[in-house]
């Protein structure tokens, strides 16, 4: 499985860089991340709970950063396993300055095995991309919060806004659903369906405030229905 992409941040590289080395920040932005702790220099131990199609379970593993070039980027080695299979991957992250903005480029190649590979194959790329995009969106929000907090403290205000929580399971399901739509629908039909789906998911997220369990359940069904509907298109 190959992964590649870029994501823009409305923040200088120097603000972004330390956050990309901070396990607390990273654990917060990654959907399903239950723990990420430093076990050595540039070495982390993590627990990630994932659900890909019918396969779900916890992965445990080591994340090692190599070739760390502050503040330009680093390479990543991931070696994890769990009940649903194993993941072994290498990747790289580069930060490129672009005026006031910073572009984050990422690429990676992962070997996925076990039940995860055999049963979830069709959803694997989609899910991986959803995890990455939501992580980056989460990071974007944290960066904004950090920038606002810095601005606030400069103005002498003390009530810094709280960083946003990591995406919930329901939000993750919606993300996967959106990705699936992109994969299976012709572009001209996509917008209306995405709007419709996001509307539904938005309502679900409201409902979630009332009943967490209920919303999770429905969001997953929506994701499933989309997956089914998408294939027949």
């Amino acid at each position: 499985m190959k992964i590649e992409g870029s994501y823009p941040f409305a923040a200088p590289r120097d603000v972004l860089w330390p956050m990309l080395l901070d396990p607390v920040t990273l654990a917060n932005i990654m959907p399903g991340c239950e723990a990420l702790e430093t076990v050595g220099e540039n070495q982390f131990h993590g627990i990630l709970k994932i659900k890909v199609g019918p396969v779900q379970g916890k992965f445990q593993g080591e994340v090692t950063l190599t070739d760390v070039q502050s503040p330009r980027g680093y390479n990543i080695l991931i070696d994890g396993k769990g009940a649903p299979g194993f993941v072994k991957g290498t990747g790289s992250m580069r930060l490129e300055e672009d005026g006031d903005m910073t572009l984050l480029h990422y690429s990676g190649d992962a070997q996925v095995g076990g039940r995860l590979a055999s049963v979830g194959q069709r959803l694997l790329d989609t899910s991986a991309n959803a995890i990455i995009r939501q992580s980056l969106e989460g990071l974007g929000q944290q960066v904004q919060a950090r920038m606002m907090a810095d601005a606030s403290s400069e103005l002498g205000m003390t009530d810094a806004p709280m960083p946003p929580a990591p995406p919930s399971q329901a939000a993750f399901a919606a993300g996967v659903a959106k990705n699936l739509v992109e994969e299976y629908l012709a572009p001209e039909n996509r917008d209306s369906l995405i709007k419709g789906v996001l509307g539904v998911v938005g309502i679900l997220l409201l409902v979630r405030l009332l009943s967490n369990w209920w919303a999770n359940n429905i969001a997953q069904k929506v994701a499933k229905a989309l997956e089914k509907g998408g294939k027949e298109v």
Partner: protein, 786 residues
């Protein structure tokens, strides 16, 4: 009573199937039953450093966690390979791996627990420490992988096989006007029977008897293997029961490790134990099918005569050799390369390779579809080369009807055939001339319409035991058939064949009813229980009616012979003056139908035994072991019309015509059902199905999300017809039917798609012909533009 043979009697087994009342292994629940689950390897190839079962053992409700070492300590033997071609290197396979895993899904440990849920939870608590190794993948590429699946087998080549007339081949190619070459891949398939495999075992500690319910196509054969090789439970203390089995397609022929693990655990824990495969487990543990890489050449003359065929094939067997795996790409493949044609110079050569994938064995057609695919693709390319109509080209090369029995250059002797009649019927049924006229019109309108033709042969009904032995078979391939007439005139039929969808309960009743002139409702067919059926070989290779049915005819003849003697005695007539009237079931004096004894009267007389002829024993039951004199050679001509959507590459099958010659037909409805089902399965390979392994050996099509099965909406109404050329060497004159549709439909559909793409200059696309591949071919042919 009239004649039942030839009538479309409704299947007596269907009421229970369609009402969900079938008796399947997974439905069986025994008091005190425990449940077994299997820890499988997530790696295609890895060294096992250690297995820590302590956390799993500590889980509440777990009765035991066992590894391969436990089985070795208990003296459990390796799984044998039952087809040993010369110089074969057979890799050792145990039910649970101890040192190394060799494919994703390979077995490393088992858990037995109070519930299946606890058992599955416990699997996740077993810690296996692996050292992953690079994987050897690909039927041909595995030879150069630089990685050995088994250290003792060099280049991952387990066996090689070649047959044919090399001098005639060399002459044909030296003198050919044209040589047509084709490199093709016959992709790997996953069998996907509707019922997953399952096993239940019960041990009786006092009698030391084991009963194993298992989803087998051949329980008697599997019992022999378990007794002689693996668990070594004495055969008279081991009972196998294969009740209703929901589809096999070859994947339920082999003796599986689970058939060792489940009874072993039942004995070890002294509890009944049950295991039912999940669909994902099936994808990584059931034997898979096909998987050939082939380079082939056809030598032709300008006048359209085919003079030579040269085939080199690399056949992937997976990580271990399953029970008859080496048979499939050898004696079931190369020997069929003559097809329906008179080709003097045929030579075939193959390499049986090993790879870090799930094992490969028989899959509906088993070797014969692969042969037909090679021949029929080449015939189409050759016709194209000479600008001849594909049917005209084939007709020019068909074996003439007067040449039968026909000896091919690749060992087989075809028993009977009328291939000209077969093609005439196919042209007639399809209105072939009109199809071609319509196609020309459609092409003028810029539509991609294709017509595909294939003429195929099968060697069915394995096999003459001496021939099987000479070709590498460890066992013979006779079949048993017993007829027990009860005192009240009812009949119990015992057959060593096994029904897992074929409709034996119906077909065999029709056969036996006609033998005695009795009502089929007075007959019961018993199969699949080794306590009732002493010996048998099971069902595969389209053999049940021609071999198993013939055994029943022979037993019926013996019973009738005894009844005739008894009737003559009771009527005080000379036996030579007696006759049997199959319409009434009466044994009577010739010319005096009133001087008769009915079937029922004679049955009763045989058991009261008050007045028997001198020297005749009471009772009325007879056994037969029928060893066929030859294979039977069903053949077919199929024609299909497809249209391709240029914008998407989507293929629609618009028309499908199938003419099959399966010899005499016992039940036309069942025959049509098997032909149509077979066609659907073969089209599945042509258009949709394909097991994909990635470079690391991960099966990436391990669920029905990714592995595309045929569905009813992919087919038009299939039109069938038949010609009847009876087999001369079995008493029923029947040939095999179960696999014919599958063998013929794959090349028919691929030829149709290639015919549609011919105006674009596309010569060949490897299966499955997905919309994506077809679209890419259209796109490339259009120079990358639209």
């Amino acid at each position: 009573m009239g004649s039942y043979i030839g009538k479309s009697m409704k299947r007596v087994e269907d009421p229970r199937f369609i009402q969900g009342k079938g008796r399947y292994v997974a439905n069986l629940t025994l008091p005190g039953m425990a449940y077994l689950a299997i820890k499988r390897s997530p790696y295609a190839h890895a060294k096992i450093n250690s297995i820590d079962t302590s956390a799993a053992e500590a889980l509440d409700g777990v009765l035991g966690v066992f590894t391969g070492q436990d089985l070795l300590n208990d003296g459990v033997g390796a799984l044998p390979c039952g087809w040993q071609v010369p110089n074969i290197k057979i890799p050792v396979q145990y039910a649970l791996q101890v040192d190394k895993v060799r494919h994703v899904g390979d077995r490393v440990a088992i858990v037995v627990a109070e519930s299946p849920y606890i058992a599955y939870d416990a699997l996740d608590l077993i810690e296996v420490d692996y050292d992953p190794l690079p994987a050897a993948i690909g039927a041909k590429a595995t030879m150069e992988a630089g990685v050995l699946v088994h250290d003792e087998i060099a280049d991952n080549v387990s066996y090689t096989w070649e047959i044919g007339d090399m001098a005639a081949r060399n002459k044909a190619f030296a003198e050919a006007d044209h040589i047509v070459e084709l490199d093709l891949i016959n992709q790997r398939l996953i069998a996907t029977a509707m019922e997953p495999r399952a096993a239940v075992a019960q041990w009786n500690e006092f009698t030391e008897e084991m009963t194993l319910w298992t989803t087998s196509q051949n329980p008697n054969l599997t019992r022999v293997v378990i007794s002689a090789f693996t668990l070594q439970i004495p055969e008279h203390k081991l009972r196998l029961i294969s009740p209703d089995v929901g589809g096999g397609f070859g994947s339920k022929i082999p003796h599986y490790p689970e058939e060792i693990l489940v009874p072993w655990a039942a004995r070890r824990l002294n509890r009944p134990v049950k295991w039912v495969s999940t669909r994902s487990e099936a994808a990584v543990s059931d034997t898979q099918g096909r998987d050939h890489v082939t380079k082939a050449r056809l030598a032709i003359k300008n006048d359209g005569t085919v003079t030579g065929l040269d085939v080199n094939t690399w056949a992937d067997n997976g990580a271990y050799l399953s029970i008859v795996a080496p048979l499939i790409p050898t004696a079931f493949y190369i020997t069929l390369l003559s097809g329906l044609y008179k080709i003097p110079g045929i030579y075939g050569n193959m390499w049986g390779t090993l790879s870090n994938t799930v094992w490969v064995d028989a899959y509906r057609g088993a070797g014969r579809p692969e042969a037909s695919y090679v021949v029929e693709r080449l015939m189409d390319l050759a016709a194209q080369k000479l600008n001849m109509d594909p049917i005209e080209f084939r007709k020019k090369n068909l074996i003439p009807a007067e040449d039968f029995p026909y000896q091919t250059p690749v060992a087989l002797q075809y028993d009977s055939g009328n291939y000209q009649g077969l093609f005439a019927e196919a042209e007639d049924l399809s209105n072939y001339a009109q199809l071609r006229a319509d196609q020309a019109q459609a092409r003028e309108n810029g539509r991609l319409v294709g017509i595909g033709v294939a003429g195929c042969i099968e060697a069915s009904g394995p096999a003459p035991s001496a021939v099987a032995g000479a070709l590498g078979g460890v066992t013979g391939f006779w079949e048993s058939g017993s007829i027990r007439v009860h005192a009240t005139g009812k009949v119990t039929v015992l057959t060593g064949a096994h029904s897992h969808g074929q409709g034996h309960d119906t077909t065999f009743r029709q056969i036996v009813a006609d033998q005695f002139g009795i009502n089929p409702n007075d007959i019961d067919i018993s199969h699949g229980d080794t306590a009732v059926i002493t010996n048998g070989m099971g069902t595969y290779g389209s053999r049940s009616t021609s071999v198993g049915g013939s055994a029943l005819v022979r037993s019926a003849e013996k019973v009738r012979g005894k009844m005739m003697k008894l009737a003559a005695h009771l009527l005080e007539a000379d036996e030579a003056d007696m006759a049997f009237d199959a319409a009434t079931g009466n044994f009577h004096v010739k010319g005096s139908p009133d001087k008769a004894k009915s079937f029922g009267e004679l049955a009763f007389a045989a058991y009261t035994a008050h007045n028997m002829p001198a020297g005749m024993e009471p009772g009325l039951e007879e056994d037969t072991y029928y060893d066929p004199a030859n294979f039977t050679y069903p053949n077919s001509a199929h024609i299909a019309q497809v249209e391709i959507d240029k914008e998407t590459g989507q293929i629609t099958i618009q028309k499908y015509f199938a003419v099959d010659d399966v010899g005499n037909v016992i039940n036309p409805m069942i025959v049509r059902g098997q032909v149509v089902g077979g066609i659907a399965q073969g089209v599945g390979q042509a258009l949709w199905e394909g097991a994909q392994y990635d470079a690391g050996g991960q099966l990436v099509t391990g669920s029905l999300l990714d592995y595309t099965m045929p569905r009813a909406d992919g087919f038009p109404m299939i039109q069938t017809s038949r010609t009847v050329t009876p087999s001369p060497h079995n008493p029923l004159g029947v040939k095999g039917v179960g696999e014919m549709g599958t063998i013929a439909s794959t090349p028919t559909i691929v030829n149709a798609v290639m015919d549609a793409l011919a105006p674009l200059g596309v010569k060949h696309i490897d299966m499955p012909l997905t919309a994506e591949k077809v679209y890419a071919a259209i796109h490339a042919a259009n120079g990358g533009g639209h």
